[in-house]
């Protein structure tokens, strides 16, 4: 997960005009207040090939909270201010392993190639419930080549597997390459930003979005923290 983000950042680096100007960075932490809903244990007994891949019980990932109230899987991105870069040529990969989506939330640039891989010994079915983009619903038997798709409009798309109802994830299709997904420590970082005024948006699948305005002048690192209000149910 970590490496994936580094990779994304790297890819962002390549296409970023910030190489020419001075590069600032926006980084910070995503936390919550209150008590988040208890994540439920997933019963995979229906799919033995997946069940036996997990030694510890698997839980839902709607709200993944870490120590000292940090939140994982929050997409933080520049929603305004950054120039629209064209789609990176590298594909992002969405893996189905042990009847789970890895990563749970996958961010990509509009028009960027999305590869969907099935690492399981069972048939999966990828069904992005898109509203703005085109909704599609394809099955992927084990051992078949990766599906290749792309989305051309900005949208947060819930993804489900019709065969395994508990499998849910998200595609964050963004207009920018400046995005980062908070990790175990809830931290994120948006590097290589040329000086300017930015709107930073943080999106959590259950809690919605928050935005903050940031102004970067030259080579500096601004810290922006987001805090969501957690609901017990």
């Amino acid at each position: 997960m970590r490496t994936k983000q580094l990779f994304l950042v790297a890819s962002a680096l390549m296409v970023s005009p910030a190489l020419l100007f001075g590069a600032g960075t926006i980084s910070g932490k995503v936390t919550y207040t209150g008590t988040p809903a208890k994540q439920k244990t997933i019963d995979m007994s229906k799919e033995p090939t997946c069940a036996k891949q997990h030694t510890t019980p698997v839980t839902t990932e709607t709200v993944v909270a870490g120590p000292n109230n940090v939140l994982e899987n929050v997409v933080v991105y520049i929603s305004a201010g950054a120039d629209d870069a064209s789609a990176p040529s590298q594909a992002v990969t969405f893996t189905q392993k042990g009847c789970q989506y890895i990563p749970h939330v996958l961010a990509m640039h509009i028009g960027q190639e999305l590869k969907v891989v099935n690492d399981d010994q069972t048939s999966h079915n990828i069904h992005p419930l898109a509203k703005v983009n085109r909704e599609w619903n394809k099955s992927q038997p084990p051992g078949t080549p990766p599906l290749s798709e792309k989305f051309d409009k900005e949208e947060f798309i819930p993804v489900k597997c019709n065969v395994h109802p508990w499998m849910h994830g998200y595609f964050a299709v963004l207009k920018t390459t400046h995005y980062s997904i908070s990790g175990e420590n809830g931290g994120f970082s948006l590097p290589n930003l040329p000086p300017g005024k930015y709107t930073v948006t943080a999106w959590q699948e259950d809690y919605g979005t928050q935005t903050q305005d940031v102004t970067l002048t030259g080579n500096e690192t601004k810290t922006v923290d987001f805090s969501f209000k957690a609901k017990p149910y």
Partner: protein
């Protein structure tokens, strides 16, 4: 040529009967026998099945062998051979059919009625364990009332599978639903009647447990129920037998028949997971 036909028909008829009699795929160890019945009502169905098997099997063999013999005897006869008519003609046939089949029908009809009544014409006992079963594309989920003995009201608009809220419960506002226990397997205590209230989330499904001799469709918009008593501890497969979409073949769950003690601890453990 006629003789060849006769031989083939009779051989096929006899060969067809072998797996029925031996319950096995010829010499292999693949068994076709229905699994041991673990329900209180199933034996009636099994008797019915074997009675029918005997009657239908005999008439099958009789007809095929008769066909073979007649073809053997009367095919390609000499041109000058004269034509005989079956003694009694059509009248005999009609009477035979009426008598044989008629009695068979009455017998089976009456017996079958009993077996059917066992399943459907007896209401569930009031103290039966109430379990809600919900079928959806493509998994079964089961709900127990929990400590308060009350089921929370389901709200279709609140269904959120990503959050494992398969029944659309609303714990924020509905207190009854907070301690409801939702599971992916159907665990029941042995020798206690279970009253299964069946609800379909989306399309038609079916609840089929071979060992229980139970098959009942889930019909969208029509909440049905079945009740049964399992008499043998063990793990059995629940499968969907009503075409429900692309995952139909993979739609199953496990029926876990436990001793009362095990059942109680299972309940506790599940309650903690909610």
């Amino acid at each position: 040529m006629g003789k060849l036909f006769a031989v083939i028909v009779i051989v096929i008829a006899l060969a067809s009967a072998i797996p029925i009699i031996t319950h096995h795929w010829f010499w292999s160890d693949i068994s076709f026998a229905p699994p041991e019945d673990i329900s209180t009502h199933g034996h009636a169905i099994d008797e019915q099945l074997s009675d029918t098997m005997i009657e239908a099997g005999l008439s099958f063999l009789a007809a095929q062998i008769l066909l073979g013999l007649f073809v053997w005897k009367f095919a390609d006869r000499k041109p000058d051979a004269e034509i005989k008519t079956f003694p009694g003609g059509a009248r005999v046939m009609v009477i035979a059919a009426l008598v044989l089949v008629g009695t068979e029908i009455l017998a089976l009809g009456v017996l079958g009625q009993k077996a059917w009544a066992n399943v459907y014409f007896r209401p569930a006992a009031p103290d039966a364990l109430q379990v809600q079963a919900q079928a959806g594309q493509f998994a079964f989920y089961f709900r127990y009332a929990g400590a308060d003995g009350k089921f929370g009201t389901p709200h279709p608009d609140k269904i959120d599978e990503g959050n494992s809220n398969f029944f659309g419960l609303d714990p924020a506002n509905d207190v009854d639903s907070r301690d409801d226990i939702v599971t992916g397997e159907l665990a029941i205590p042995v020798d206690r009647e279970v009253h299964l209230m069946m609800h379909s989330k989306d399309v038609g499904h079916s609840f089929y447990v071979r060992e229980l001799r139970i098959q009942q469709d889930f019909v969208p918009g029509l909440d049905l129920s079945v009740h049964f008593t399992a008499t043998k501890v063990g793990k059995y497969e629940i499968v969907c037998t009503q075409l429900c979409g692309l995952g139909h073949y993979n739609m199953k769950a496990y029926l876990n028949v436990l001793s009362q003690a095990d059942f109680d601890s299972w309940m506790k453990q599940k309650a903690s997971e909610q």
